[in-house]
Amino acid sequence: MRSPESPVLTIDGLIKDVGPLASLDGKMLRVVSGLSMFAERGQITALLGANGAGKTTTLECAQGLQKRTGGRIGLLGEDPDTAGANLRSRVGVMLQDGGLPPSARPIPLLRHIAGMYQDPLPLDGLVERLGIDTFSRTGVRRLSGGQKQRLSLAAALIGNPEVLFLDEPSAGLDPQSRQIVFELIAELRDAGMGIILTTHLMDDAQRLADYVYIIDAGHNVAEGTVADLLRHGHEAMDGVTERTLFFDAPAGLDIAAAIGDELTITESRAGSYAIAGTLTPQHLAKLTAWWAEKGIMPASLRLEARSLEDVFLDISGRDIR
């Protein structure tokens, strides 16, 4: 836990009901139930959770796109439900489904959006930086997923915002687009922008986020830096350290004979081993001694701590996907 220093967004006990839904006999469904978080200037804050955890709803309440049922939200110190054009001009939004008209062409569309701001960013720099010049004559309808995402990001940034919301920014990104987008996001963070993103991908959170909130069933169940969360996972297990040792060696070795059977030993492909569990220095000593005795030299050797994915599984009791 940390306390806010220069927050761009604070959410306190957010509640959001939707409905009434016919599928619930006309009852309301509580999609966000007491979620609290804040996001700092100059940081990337990630909401990490499975589909349906309430991430997008939370973002849309913060953006003023949905009216909340309860709780408090401060976006740059203002209530997004009552804020006007001035607040909206300081906040950039990239929606999950893009929100770009299919018949538009990239450059006229960006120029149009830029016109909504007093002093927008120079179009050329943004277009070049995001590689939009390579598809500037193609209608939105015919753009690839990655091209659409890059254009949506440009549309969110053209007003030179202080706060940037990104809903599932890597959805549909090809590796090249992903590289371009992630580099730019990190650079904007370094330049002082407050960035809030949602993702259901551990990899995104691990690679981008300065601070992560794990969201499950409409509220935050854990939070911290990626390193914190990984450590938290260990602490939750009374100091026991879960690790996995991967190595490649001749196929068909009887590893259990060397180190006992309290660990999970798998040979996923012939000669490709993984030993998972509470690995101790003693295990390693036994294993390497056994290799020395048998004259085995592994072709590769790698030790990994728990992944964020394991932590999520521990906390929520379910798989993230």
Binding site: L65, A85, N86, L95, G99, Y117, Q118, A155, M193
Partner: protein, 258 residues
């Protein structure tokens, strides 16, 4: 791409003035509408065909005035329905589907600016329609009463408001495919039987009793009154006002942005 191009430059500076945002959106929506081939057919080509058709056939004979004088006011009313109801309804329905309404309402434009922009676009296209239809009708011998222009244009704007409210109500509450079907079907039904192009006295008895209370019949009949006789019939104005206020209020209440 060059990875060194700096992106963030100046400190933040605020939204463009409200009027500029609205006018920009109005221009953008207008251009989108008139560049859309299907919309252009519905907004200009079909009304022109109907105008010529009614002028060369004896359908409107025996109503106390020549064919083109009776036909043109109704065709102008049809134009208002094409643009405000069918055209704007379908465009808004699909904008909603693609999240365009949500995205634009997060920019300084906002929801109010978005709706103001749509109204400007409807009025701008309507002006174009009046110019084209008016010019062709004049070639065909249309002689409107000069004193009919002022009430006539006012009624057209009021009719456009009523049809915009109805179009947005449909677009905001059902799927875009359903909006497409509903607004196109109603355009044909109201166009043929709604008292808009064909005067009420030429319709079947059953329809005659109803059309005076429909926005189509009220707009068609009142425009004919204005351009044929230079008169304004208040009951029709009231009907149009009701068709603006009730669907407008319903759209405000039930319009779903996502």
């Amino acid at each position: 791409m060059t990875s060194a191009t700096p992106v963030l430059s100046t400190p933040h500076s605020g939204p463009a003035p409200l009027m500029r945002r609205i006018l920009l959106q109005g221009r953008y929506e207008t251009l989108t509408m008139i560049r859309n081939g299907e919309q252009l057919i519905l907004a200009v080509i079909m009304p022109l065909l109907a105008l010529v058709g009614l002028t060369v056939t004896p359908l409107l004979d025996g109503l106390g005035a020549n064919r083109v004088d009776i036909a043109t006011p109704g065709i102008l009313a049809l134009c208002a329905m094409s643009t405000a109801f069918t055209g704007q309804g379908i465009a808004t329905g699909f904008d909603r589907r693609y999240g365009v309404l949500r995205f634009l309402s997060t920019t300084p434009l906002g929801r109010t600016g978005l709706i103001a922009g749509k109204i400007i676009a409807v009025l701008a296209v309507l002006v174009l329609q009046v110019l084209v239809i008016g010019a062709v009708a004049a070639l065909l011998g249309w002689h409107p009463r000069p004193e009919g222009w002022l009430p006539g244009l006012g009624l057209l704007v009021l009719g456009a408001a009523a049809f915009t409210a109805l179009g947005l109500l449909v677009a905001g509450t059902v799927r875009p495919e359903a909006t497409l079907a509903i607004t196109n079907l109603l355009w044909i039904l109201l166009g043929a039987l709604g008292g808009i192009v064909v005067p009420a006295e030429r319709l079947p008895d059953l329809a005659q009793n109803i059309v005076h209370f429909l926005p189509s019949g009220a707009l068609g009949q009142s425009l004919r009154d204005a351009f044929l006789h230079g008169s304004v019939s208040l009951p029709y104005v009231l009907v149009l006002l009701l068709w603006t206020i009730v669907p407008g209020a319903a759209a405000v209440r039930w319009f779903k942005w996502n």
